[in-house]
């Protein structure tokens, strides 16, 4: 097992954002994580990547107890992530952004630049390498987030809504990119709202609701699961009232 989490709990005041969540991902898998807004997916990611310390539960990554390790230790062990709201290092060029990731495994500047250029090439950003990163639009920023993470040469990549806010043609490109990342042997755990993307990319999906996994299976199985339907509909019904 590459990543294994048991009984993770994380609360904010009296909001139980993650409430006893379990997860297991095998090396080489591409796992989807879906769930209604506010289900706790991003908070769960923060726990898995070391950005937040869970109040209960334990996480093992790459054979190590990783629950309390810092995000940079996670990165060193081979866990990379993107953030739901894409942030770029605004004072740097696109290439320099990717170099920050590449420096993790390559101290020499020339070597880091080369590795970063490869990551940009792979993600289709090679043409914008010398552009200020701040000049990128949403699609470009999301891709740069992925390129930067890839430049750390990870074993596992956590993507938090990497495709949200993209146009349909950009989504096509992004689906192709995720498939190519997976084909390179990188394990992927992706949070995604767009069901079509989940159907096309993954064989195994976890459904998150109120801080825990309520269903698991193939995309077809979970979308037919009455509990899952209730979770999504319940949310919608509540919104309808408001």
């Amino acid at each position: 097992m590459l990543l294994e989490a048991r009984g993770i709990v994380k609360t904010f005041g009296n909001v139980r954002a993650v409430d006893g969540a379990d997860l297991a991902v095998e090396e080489g898998e591409l796992v989807g994580l879906i769930g209604p807004n506010g289900a706790g997916k991003s908070t769960f990611f923060d726990c898995l990547a070391g950005n937040l310390a869970p109040e209960a539960g334990s996480i093992r990554f790459a054979g190590l107890e990783s629950t309390r390790l810092s995000p940079d230790r996670h990165a060193r062990l081979g866990l990379a992530r993107t953030f739901q709201v894409p942030v770029v290092f605004a004072g740097m060029t696109v290439l320099e952004n990717a170099m920050v990731g590449a420096f993790l495994r390559h101290e020499s500047r020339a070597r880091a630049a080369q590795k970063a250029a490869e990551a940009l090439e792979f993600t289709g950003l090679a043409g914008q390498a010398e552009m200020p990163a701040a000049a990128l639009g949403t699609a470009g920023r999301k891709r740069l987030g992925i390129a930067r993470a890839l430049a750390t040469e990870p074993r596992l990549l956590l993507l938090d809504e990497a495709l949200a806010g993209l146009t349909s043609s950009e989504i096509e490109t992004a689906i192709g990119l995720l498939a190519r990342i997976h084909a390179r042997g990188i394990t992927l755990l992706v949070v995604e709202h767009i069901m079509e993307v989940i159907h096309r990319l993954t064989r195994r999906v976890l459904v998150f609701h109120q801080g825990r996994v309520i269903a698991e299976g193939s995309p077809a199985e979970v979308t037919a699961n009455p509990e899952v339907i209730r979770a999504y509909l319940g949310r919608r019904a509540k919104r309808g009232e408001a």
Binding site: D72, A75, A90, F103, E107
Partner: protein
């Protein structure tokens, strides 16, 4: 041509900087020139932590004061030439960086900035009430040179030359830093700590490195000041204005750029000295500071460096 231009411009600038005070026989101008370089050293040192790493210190006067007191205490207590206090100042600056940095860099946000303000206030009070270091009266350097090592000169030109060497070393060092992994890491931290850390940057450790470097060079500036002026008291060593000067100069020229702090110092020091000489009042300089800070915040948060880049870009676009 494009590639040649910055290099030629750089060489011309360096030459001018070196020759400038030798072109005038006026001791006032020479002194202003030397003080400008000294301020540029402080502001460039501040820039490592405050500019590149984005951790704004409002208490760097403490490092300056440590360096200045180390020099004059080495003379007053041990009878050494003031410059011999330099390594003591550096060691003390390291200790301070660890004491301030270790706890405050644990936390994200403005804790570090607040800690620097508190430390600066405390240090001022401590020094004022500590008789061993001269209390409110301060410490004097040698009245006349016992040997060359006292570095006591009537003219400001020798000081100018010394400061220029130190500034050159500091800027060269900063340039190397900028190009290295550490430079990238500091800029990443300054831009977004959370993302930097997720890319494998050990944020806390690198902030501490930056503070150690920044503090050490600031203490060197303090030592040089004490060597030149031959006197330091709590206000001229630990005064809040010293910290403010570093921040404003770096911000005016461009924080996080190589030459920004030097540019800021080259504008503000002559301005301050001129208003002081003309009207005998420092107050005017403060008003000017306020106006500069407001204009910067409104029009060019990246300082003159950003403004310059913007203008050059527009000019190139027109030419093309």
């Amino acid at each position: 041509m494009k590639a040649l231009f910055p290099r030629a411009g750089f060489a011309a600038g360096a030459l001018l900087l070196f020759a400038a005070p030798f072109l005038t026989a006026n001791p006032f101008y020479q002194r202003v020139a030397a003080l400008t370089l000294l301020a540029a050293i402080s502001a460039s040192a501040w820039n490592v932590i405050g500019g590149y790493a984005g951790q704004v210190s409002f208490g760097h006067s403490v490092y300056f004061g440590i360096g200045a007191y180390a020099a004059l205490l080495a003379y007053a207590k041990l009878g050494w030439p003031p410059i011999a206090g330099l390594p003591f100042g550096i060691v003390a600056s390291f200790a301070l960086s660890i004491v301030v940095g270790l706890p405050s860099f644990r936390l994200r946000g403005h804790y570090f900035s607040m800690a620097t303000i508190a430390i600066a206030a405390l240090a001022g009070i401590l020094v004022t009430n500590w008789d061993f270091v001269g209390g409110a009266i301060g410490v004097m350097g040698p009245a006349r040179a016992r040997s060359f090592a006292d570095l006591l000169f009537r003219s400001s030109l020798p000081y100018y030359a010394i400061f220029l060497c130190v500034l050159a070393i500091l800027l060269l060092f900063t340039r190397l830093l900028q190009k290295s992994r550490m430079g990238f890491y500091l800029r990443a931290i300054g831009s977004d700590e959370r993302v930097a850390q997720s890319l494998g940057v050990p944020v806390r450790r690198y902030k501490l490195y930056a503070l150690l470097i920044s503090g050490a060079f600031t203490s060197i500036a303090g030592t040089l000041y004490a060597v030149m002026v031959g006197f330091v008291d709590p206000n001229s060593g630990f005064g809040i204005l010293i910290s403010v000067n570093m921040v404003v100069m770096a911000a005016l020229g461009g924080a996080g750029t190589l030459f920004g702090p030097l540019i800021g110092a080259a504008i503000l020091v002559p301005l301050g000295e001129a208003t002081n000489a003309l009207w005998g009042a420092r107050g005017i300089a403060y008003v000017a500071y306020g106006v500069i800070i407001m204009l910067l915040a409104r029009f060019s948060p990246g300082g003159l460096a950003e403004l310059g880049r913007f203008i050059v870009k527009g000019w190139r676009r027109r030419a093309a």
